[in-house]
Amino acid sequence: MLTSALFAPKSALQNFWRNKGLSIFAVSVMFVVLMMTGVSLILGHSFNQSIDSLKGKAKTISIFIADTTPLVNVMNLQTQLRSDPRVQSVTFVDKASALAKYKQDPSIPPDMITNLEGYNPLPASLDVDVKNINDLDALANDVKSLPLLDKQGPTNYRKAVIDRVVVFSRFIAAAGVVILVSLTGVAIFIIMMSIRTAVYVRRQEIEVMKLVGATDWFVRGPFLLEGMLAGVIASLASVVLIAVGYQPFVDKVRSAVPFLPVSYDAAFLGELCLILALVGIALGAFGSWLGVRRFLQT
């Protein structure tokens, strides 16, 4: 029984080695597919980091207070807002803090900052964080007609911008799913074809196996292991390359596009390596199963 159980792994290794050309081709294709999958997952993760950051910023609305409003009224409004179930937090920013913050904004030209010496046109504000970005619109509408607000612009809420952020994040998520599904389909097809070729090369052996009464699993086993072996080698190679390349990739993105809040995420790298290894093995096994299926039907 033991020798029978060892037949599949031994046969898989032998065939993997004997059909070196085919094996290298299958491993290479899987490697490319896994690399593309890995890179698209990293890109997706980086986009998510950016989108999360944008959403985080977008979830904050500044309610500008008229300079003439007594502080007690502002505090009352702050208390009122804090009791609103849609609100996460409320922070009061006085006029001096608003000016200091403005001066630190790198996107503001220096000459504009110089012109502000001894003069503060910025209003005080209540910066409100909402729990759900979709509540921003209603909250902005609720507060905009309050008499204590700055008449020039009661809030910094820009509906179009928020809508774009939401649509963009949905588009990125959908595009990611489409790319991953397509890559998976391509990988399965390539593995299926290469295993089908391997099966064709060994059709005589399979025919004899079936004639003498081999079970389907006995015939299928070595091919499944062969596909899984190709998957393991390809995923190991892609995991190593991605692990080595992730940090330089993040550094490059940050230097090229400094405003994109992309950062190195070690926990994500661990998850990614595990996903690639499992995907590689699963693709190899599933592709092989499809490849050998047709030959087992009689």
């Binding site: 029984m1 033991l2 020798t3 029978s4 159980a5 037949f7 005589q204 052996e205 025919e207 004899v208 196996m209 079936k210 004639l211 003498v212 009464g213 081999a214 079970t215 389907d216 006995f218 009689t298």
Partner: protein, 248 residues
């Protein structure tokens, strides 16, 4: 009292044994519309030796393919050792095949394996290799007269010897049924006779032998059961006949 004087009578009734192989109204039509067999009825008891003869395209090979369940009957039922093949689940098919030793005209040997490994391959597939395997392989190689060729490769041997390897491989499974599809088709007359002697030996050891053949001389000399198929139907079934009806 009269009854007590009569000797005790015992009736030795032999149980009615179902045939080992039975075709009941079997027809086979291929997907392209070709009807290969039509309403075939055939019963083959245990340890029978049957020649299935007929011209090319008569349906002999289809009959063999149906018997080993490489094909399914379109109409009718086929029973092998009590199992109806039409109802046999795909996962049970290997266990049917283990009851049937099969040899073909083209031997179906693995050229990269030695004689010993070719025979061992069958055992490896069905039982795994253990300490009894070597003895079993040596035993069947001795039955077919191939002792001393264990380390040779098939292409180093003659056609007759290659067919013997195929027979040894089939024999190693201890099959109840031995199916030979044109086993002498590629062999000269002398070698064909040697193969036939081997099949007779296998039959004497208890296996039922079904041999599809074109070989008129062998069939005429052997005077065994002959089933003649022509145009997909059984046109003659003689318990002891020749290739042609006038040879009876």
């Amino acid at each position: 009292m009269l009854t007590s004087l009569q000797p005790e009578t015992r009736f030795e009734v032999e149980p009615v044994q179902a045939p080992l192989i039975s075709f009941q109204g079997v027809s086979k039509t291929y997907p392209n519309g070709t009807q290969a067999l039509h309403a075939v009825n055939l019963a083959i008891p245990r340890q029978d030796f049957v020649f299935v003869v007929g011209p090319s395209g008569a349906g002999k090979s289809t009959l063999v393919r149906l018997l080993i369940r490489e094909e399914k009957a379109t109409i009718g039922r086929i029973y092998v050792d009590g199992q109806e093949l039409g109802r046999l689940r795909h996962r049970h098919l290997p266990f049917l095949r283990r009851k049937i030793g099969i040899v073909f005209q083209d031997y179906k040997l693995l050229p990269k394996l030695t004689v010993f490994e070719n025979v061992e391959f069958g055992l490896r597939v069905t039982r795994g290799v253990d300490r009894l395997t070597r003895a079993k392989v040596e035993e069947v190689l001795s039955i077919v007269g191939l002792q001393g060729t264990e380390r040779k490769f098939p292409d180093e041997l003659s056609g007759g010897q290659q067919q013997r390897i195929a027979i040894a491989r089939a024999l190693s499974q201890d099959p109840k049924i031995f199916v030979a599809d044109e086993p002498t088709g590629n062999l000269d007359p002398a070698t064909s006779w040697e193969i036939l002697q081997l099949l007779l030996k296998i039959n004497e050891r208890g296996a039922t032998v079904v041999m599809a053949t074109h070989n008129k001389e062998i069939v005429d000399v052997m005077r065994r059961r002959v089933v003649v198929i022509d145009g997909g139907t059984v046109v003659r079934d003689d318990a002891s006949g020749g290739y042609h009806e006038d040879a009876n």
